[in-house]
Amino acid sequence: MHSSIHQTQLAEGATARDRAAPKAPPGPIWFTVPNLVFMGLFLLGAMLVLIDVSLRVYEAGGAGVTDQRTLQNYADFLLDPYFLQIVWRSVVMAVTVVLATLVLGLPLAIGLSRTTGIWRALLYFAVLAPLLTSVVVRTFGWMMLLSNNGVINSTLRELEIIRLPIRMMYQMTGVDIVMTHVHLPFMVLALDAALLNINPQVYEAARNLGAGATRIFFRITLPLCMPGIVAGSILVFALAISSFVTPALIGGPRNPVIAMVIYQQGVSLLNWPFGAAMSIGLMVLLVAIMMLFLKLTSRAAQRAS
C-alpha cells in the first residue's frame, strides 16, 4: 500500500436510481411533414382515385371505363355468392394462418426472448432467414415439397406409410402450410418484442409464490404478452388476406382468394371499376375485422402493457 493512511467513507446506499423510463420530448411537428406529403400523395391520393374508379360504369369491349357513375360494382361484388365464397375462403385462410403462426411462434418467441448473446443473434437470424429469399422462389421451393410426386409424398410412399399421395398442391391445405411459413417471422418478432418487455423477476416471483410451469404460462406469460399477440395477429392477418403470389401458385386457379380475383379483373379482364370496388371492399373488411379484434383484446392488452 502506497499511502499509509486511508480514510474512506462508503456511502453506497445513496444510489437511489430513478427507474422511471425517461420519455423523449415530442419532436417538432414538421419532422412529420415529408412523411405526410408522401402518404398524402401516394396513399390517400391513390385511394381517392381508387374510390373514384370503383364508382364508374364499365363497358366491356367498348368504351371501357366511362364517365358515368354507379354503385352497381359494389352490388355485383357483395350480392354474388361466387365472390362471397372467395371472401370467406380468404378470411378462413388468413385466420388459419394467424392461429398457426401463433401456436408455432409462441414457443419460438419464448425461446428467443430467453436467449442472450451470440445464440440470440443466431436464432434471430434463423427466424428472419425466410424473408431473405424472394417469395416466388420460396413458393416454388414449397411446390417441390408439396406436389403429389414431391419430396414429402415420395418419401412417405418409399417408407410405405401411404399408398396414395396426400394432396396438398392446389388445395387450401398447401396454401395454409406455405403461408404459415412465410408469415411466421412477423409473428415471432412481434411476440419477442412483447416478451422482452416482461420483467424477468416477475417469473421468479411467480415461482417463489408456488406457481408451476403451466400456471406461469397461462396466468403470467400469456396475459403479459397480449400486446404482442394483438400486434402479431393484426400484422399477419393483414398480410395473409391480401397475399397474392403464394395462393396463386400453390392454391391454383380453382382456389382463388380475394387478391387473385382483383388481379384477374384489373389485369386480365381490364374491368378496373369492378377490381377497384373489390379492393375497397377488402380494405373495409380488413379494417372492420381489425377494429373488432382490437375491441375484444384492448382491455387485456392495456393491462399488460
Partner: protein, 352 residues
C-alpha cells in the same frame, strides 16, 4: 432452534467463484442482513436459498430438512424483489390471491388472510388498484403483503428498498422491521447499504469476494471490526499500516503513535484503526484530557450536517479524519491552524 442452515455453500461459474464455502446458521425469528459491495456474493447466496440458483457444492437445510435440490415453487419462503416484481395485469387483491391459489388455500381462509395482510400493510383502501396506479413505496408494500399472506417459514429480501427515495427508504426500513418482529418470521435481507443493515438486522453478515468477512450484531461489527475491510466498509475509518510495539504503533511513514495496551489481532500485519468520532480535537496549547495525542495542521474543515469533519495533516505526511459535534463557535479550529488530536487506549484497535 436453528431455522436455516447453510453449510459449505459454494457457487462457481467458469472462471469465477461467486460464493466460496459459506457456513451460516440462522435462528428462528432472527433477521439477518447480508452486507457487502457489489459482486461480493450476497445476492447469489440469497438466490441459492430461494432456489433460483443451484449451488455447485454444499447444502441448504430448513428446520432440519435438506432443501438443496427442491425447486423454488416447492420451498416455503417468500421473496421480496428489488423491482417489486408485481404482476402488472393484476390488482393488489389478485396479486395477493395468486400465491394463495398456488398453495390451494381454501377460499374462506384465503379471504381472511387477504384482509389480514392488507390491514397489516395499510393497503386496504388500495386493494383494487393496478400496480402502475401506485407509488414505489405502495408497490413494495404489495410485494411484502403478497409473501406475508402465504405465512412462509422464511422471508427473503433482495435489496428491496434501493429503488425508493431516501426519506421513504428510512420509513420502510422501520415498517419492515416492525412487521418482521410482529410476525416473528425468520428473515434474510440483502443490502449494500450499511445504515439499512444496521437499522434492520439482529445480525449482520459482512461479505467480501464470496466469503464471510465477519458476522455479528450491528454494534459488534462497528465497534469491533475484525478486518481492515470491515473497518473500512462500515462507517468512516482512519487506518494506519505499520507495526505494533508495546504501547505504541509505528506507522509505515515513521510516525509513532501512543496507543496504550492493544488487544492483539489475528493476521500477520495488523493495521491500526481510529474512528473519527472517537478522536478529540482542540487547538494546540489547549488542555487535553486524553492520554494519547498527536499534532498536525488542519488542512480541511467541512460541515457535515450536525458534524464538523477535520482533515488533519500529520508531520509524517499521513492524515487523520476527525469528527466533532458542531457548535455555534469554531473553537479556534479553522483551516491552517495547528491542532492537537487525542484518543483513549480503548478507542484504538488493531484489525487484521
Amino acid at each position: 432452534m436453528s431455522d436455516l442452515v447453510l453449510s459449505a455453500l459454494r457457487k462457481s461459474y467458469p472462471g469465477t467463484i461467486a460464493v466460496e464455502g459459506l457456513d451460516l446458521t440462522i435462528a428462528q425469528g432472527e433477521m439477518v442482513a447480508f452486507l457487502g459491495p457489489s459482486g461480493c456474493g450476497k445476492t447469489t447466496t440469497l438466490r441459492m436459498v430461494a432456489g433460483f440458483i443451484t449451488p455447485t457444492a454444499g447444502s441448504i437445510s430448513m428446520k432440519g430438512r435438506d432443501i438443496t435440490a427442491l425447486p423454488p415453487n416447492k420451498r416455503d419462503m417468500g421473496m421480496v424483489f428489488q423491482s417489486y416484481a408485481l404482476f402488472p395485469h393484476m390488482t393488489v387483491t389478485q396479486n395477493i390471491m395468486f400465491g394463495l391459489k398456488c398453495k390451494k388455500i381454501p377460499g374462506e381462509d384465503a379471504a381472511k388472510r387477504l384482509d389480514s395482510v392488507l390491514g397489516m400493510t395499510g393497503l386496504t383502501a388500495l386493494k383494487d388498484r393496478y400496480p402502475k396506479q401506485m407509488s414505489g413505496g405502495q408497490q413494495q408494500r404489495v410485494a411484502l403483503a403478497r409473501v406475508l399472506a402465504l405465512q412462509p417459514e422464511l422471508l427473503l429480501f433482495d435489496e428491496p428498498l434501493s429503488n425508493l427515495d431516501a426519506k421513504l427508504r428510512v420509513q420502510m426500513r422501520h415498517d419492515i422491521r416492525r412487521l418482521q418482529k410482529d410476525v416473528g418470521i425468520t428473515s434474510l435481507f440483502v443490502t449494500h447499504d450499511q445504515e439499512e443493515a444496521m437499522t434492520i438486522a439482529d445480525r449482520i453478515v459482512v461479505m467480501n469476494k464470496g466469503r464471510i468477512e465477519q458476522e455479528g450484531s450491528p454494534r459488534e461489527i462497528y465497534d469491533h471490526p475484525a478486518t481492515r475491510f470491515v473497518a473500512d466498509f462500515i462507517g468512516t475509518a482512519n487506518l494506519f499500516e505499520g507495526e505494533a510495539g508495546s504501547g505504541q504503533f509505528r506507522t509505515a511513514a515513521g510516525l509513532t503513535l501512543e496507543v496504550g495496551a492493544l488487544a492483539p489481532a489475528t493476521g500477520t500485519s495488523p493495521a491500526l484503526l481510529l474512528r473519527p468520532e472517537k478522536l478529540h480535537i482542540s487547538p494546540e496549547g489547549a488542555p487535553v484530557d486524553t492520554p494519547h495525542l498527536t499534532t498536525g495542521r488542519i488542512e480541511r474543515a467541512v460541515k457535515l450536517g450536525g458534524l464538523m469533519e477535520y482533515l488533519v495533516r500529520l508531520p509524517s505526511g499521513e492524515s487523520l479524519l476527525v469528527h466533532r459535534q458542531d457548535r455555534s463557535d469554531t473553537g479556534g479550529l479553522t483551516e491552517g491552524v495547528t491542532a492537537t488530536v487525542g484518543w483513549r487506549s480503548e478507542d484504538a484497535r488493531l484489525v487484521a
